[in-house]
Amino acid sequence: MYAPRLEEHFDELPKQRHAARLGVWIFLASELLLFAGLFALYFGYRLHYPEVFIEGVVHNGRGLGTLNTCLLLLGSVAAAAGVGELRRDRDGRARILFALGTLLALAFLGVKGTEYARHFHEGIAPGGSGAFFAAHREPGWPVFFTLYFAMTGLHAIHVVIGMLLLGAVAVWIGRRRPGRAGAHRAELAALYWHFVDAVWVFLWPMFYLLGGGR
């Protein structure tokens, strides 16, 4: 039977859990500010080069970005449902749901990789190097795609971390059968995954939808 360990500087388990949850929330606030600098740059540069940014968004197309949004949102639903199942002591279902979340994250990375490959093939690389920029000489183009690679790249790193977390939780549930005593731990991993998801929900319009109605 799984029983969470009470650290010696805490008096009781609920307090220790509260501390862990609060710690993760504050960490996520900090993570959000990591992206905030890039968001500020995006809007700063978009004001400089509104036409180029619209063209860039249209160039990216809506399809793959929207597909990825669906994958991430479904992953979040799976993780949240997994925590709920664990709370009801249904370890088997919880494990399947967390494994599903992990696979959806992997699928996201697959789609993202395809998209990057397509960009490289078109001659679009960070820093405005590549054949594409020889044909598109307006000064905003390198900035748009450098931002695109920087922001989605940083997000992809977070997806990898989230995927590993969800996968670890799935394996852990399978091995330890923690039941409701382990729901707290699973919840922390799910929180992180929801954050990854929430950031993407903002990246999606910025790079795939705000194309001036085209």
């Binding site: 504050i26 000064p139 900035v143």
Partner: protein
């Protein structure tokens, strides 16, 4: 009685200890080494300025030395100095906790600090950088010097800061002793709380922007390169969005130290607990909205400059509330004039002086004249050295018996404090006059008319340097020969003095219950 100092006393038991007290001491040692390193660089800079022409180094070396002095003092010393060393040591004890909320994360924070410092210093050894501590683009992206390890090093250091901040906030929320209400949380803890909020929310922005500069420099991304459509002013906005609040990361903990020392050595209830605690958050909040005052001459509209200037003055209001509350607390107190209080007097004088010049440079019309001159250099040294460093010295003396269980030599402390003040004032006051006279900062050569003031400033730096050296010597001496301290040598009512000095491994014997406020000097002793 057993204490945190040992046994075990092996090196391994220190380096991998999760005890917040040992981690605090390790931070204290590491940051003091950095202070010495940055201080030696400062002395070299001052020697170079003894003559208007080349004195002891070449122009390229000069540029690297002032850059490294800034980088080391800001990121390796001042930001972690009070929170990571003294905060780590006393915050949990002040709250009656056995440790911080996440002890392993705390140890990780220390090792990340060490790793970041080593990477930064590797850049120094490789060739150093000549960008100034501000890393302004486009120059930082193009310089041939080794700016890369320094950018990466500061990026790594940022995570140490963030983890410490998270730990302090969560500890304050979850590990207060039974019976401690929010109105009874010691003022130093409030100061650290405000600091932690800034650390958690501002540091990641800097981390990101420095990483982008590193990509620009290393991979040629041209993110801020005007030739490819980049905007160098956007970099400045993001840089100062962190680096202005960063000065509050440096000064807020110092203010917390002052609050503790003033109450203890005046034996008085603070004139207004709420005013001190609330103004901390006033500064922390407004501090996020003032970054533009670094950029008045960077092509900012008059409206924006006016707004940033006005918001900056709010900081002065909150700071003044604190200063008046401290002075009001001292007034008619039962003053016991010891070294920590002596340093607090120095702090009050220099901080008010530096603060008033800060209000002056926040006025756009005056700033245009003083921008990038020695006036600004003198202003921020008055706040950072005159403020943070003197409070750091006050904290060092105040908590020395708590940390080491030994008494330092009081006479030496008072004499050295006087020397510190005289040395400091002689070093930096002439720089106000230099700047007002038109001497630009970061210049290698200067006109002969400035020489007298430069020589005076250099002479002051030697007095300041000797004061630090003497302090290190008598403190080291006290470790071996100093009188043993009783549990509470200052007669303070604050919680960290309720346990023995040095404290036992788990801070208190048994679980403490605090039934009085940490400042109830109006009650008879022992109640």
């Amino acid at each position: 009685m057993s204490s945190y100092l040992g046994p075990p006393t092996t090196i391994r038991s220190w380096l991998f200890s999760t005890d917040h007290k040992r981690i605090g001491v390790m931070f204290l040692v590491a940051t003091t080494v950095m202070l010495a390193l940055g201080g030696v660089l400062a002395l070299l800079l001052r020697i170079e300025h003894l003559t208007p022409g080349p004195t002891i180094m070449q122009a390229a070396t000069y540029n690297r030395v002032f850059t490294l002095h800034g980088v080391i003092m800001v990121w390796l010393f001042m930001i972690p100095s009070i929170p990571a060393a003294f905060g780590n040591f006393v915050l949990p004890i002040m709250l009656g906790a056995r440790d911080v909320a996440f002890p392993r994360l705390n140890l990780a924070s220390f090792w990340i600090y060490v790793a970041g410092s080593l990477v930064t210093l590797a850049g120094v050894v490789a060739s150093g950088a000549d960008t100034g501590w501000t890393f302004y683009v486009p120059y930082a992206a193009e310089t041939f010097t080794e700016v890369m390890p320094i950018l990466v090093g500061v990026f790594i250091l940022g995570w140490s800061t963030i983890l410490t901040g998270i730990n302090f906030i969560v500890t304050t929320h979850t590990l207060r002793a039974e019976g401690m209400r929010w109105r009874e949380v010691p003022l130093f803890v409030w100061a650290l709380y405000g600091t932690s909020v800034i650390q958690v929310l501002a540091t990641p922005v800097l981390a990101m922007v420095l990483l982008l500069v590193a990509f620009d420099h290393g991979l040629g991304w041209g993110f801020f390169d005007p030739a490819r459509g980049g905007d160098v002013v956007l970099f400045q906005h993001l840089f100062w969005f962190y680096s202005h609040p960063a000065v509050y990361i440096m000064i807020l903990p110092a203010m917390g130290v002052v609050s503790e020392v003033v109450c203890t050595f005046a034996r008085k209830v603070p004139l207004s607990y709420v005013a001190i605690a609330a103004s901390t958050f006033g500064i922390a909040f407004v501090g996020f909205l003032t970054w533009g005052h670094h950029m008045f001459v960077a092509g900012m509209s008059i409206v924006d400059a006016g707004i940033f200037g006005a918001l900056s003055m709010f900081v002065a209001i909150f700071s003044a509330i604190k200063v008046f509350t401290w002075v009001g607390t001292l007034y008619r107190g039962s003053i016991s004039f010891r070294t920590p209080l002596a340093y607090v007097f120095v702090f009050l004088f220099l901080f008010v002086f530096g603060g008033m010049t800060g209000v002056a440079v926040a006025s756009t019309s005056l700033d245009v004249h003083w921008h990038d001159t020695y006036f600004v250099v003198a202003h921020f040294h008055f706040i950072m050295v005159g403020g943070t460093l003197t409070a750091w010295l006050a904290a060092l003396h105040y908590w020395w018996p708590k940390i080491t269980g030994r008494r330092y030599a009081e006479k030496w402390g008072l004499v050295t404090c006087t020397l510190t003040f005289l040395g400091f004032f002689t070093t930096f006051f002439p720089q106000f006059l230099l700047g007002n006279g038109g001497m630009p900062r970061r210049y290698y050569l200067y006109d002969e008319t400035y020489q007298a003031l430069h020589v005076l400033s250099t002479a002051g730096s030697w007095a300041l340097g000797s004061a630090f050296a003497i302090t290190l010597v008598y403190l080291a001496w006290s470790l071996v020969y100093g009188e043993r301290a009783e549990g509470n040598p200052w007669g303070s009512r604050s919680y960290e003095w309720l346990t023995s000095s040095p404290p036992p491994p788990h801070n208190f014997d048994g679980t403490p219950v605090f039934r009085h406020s940490p400042y109830d000097y109006h009650l008879p002793p022992g109640s």
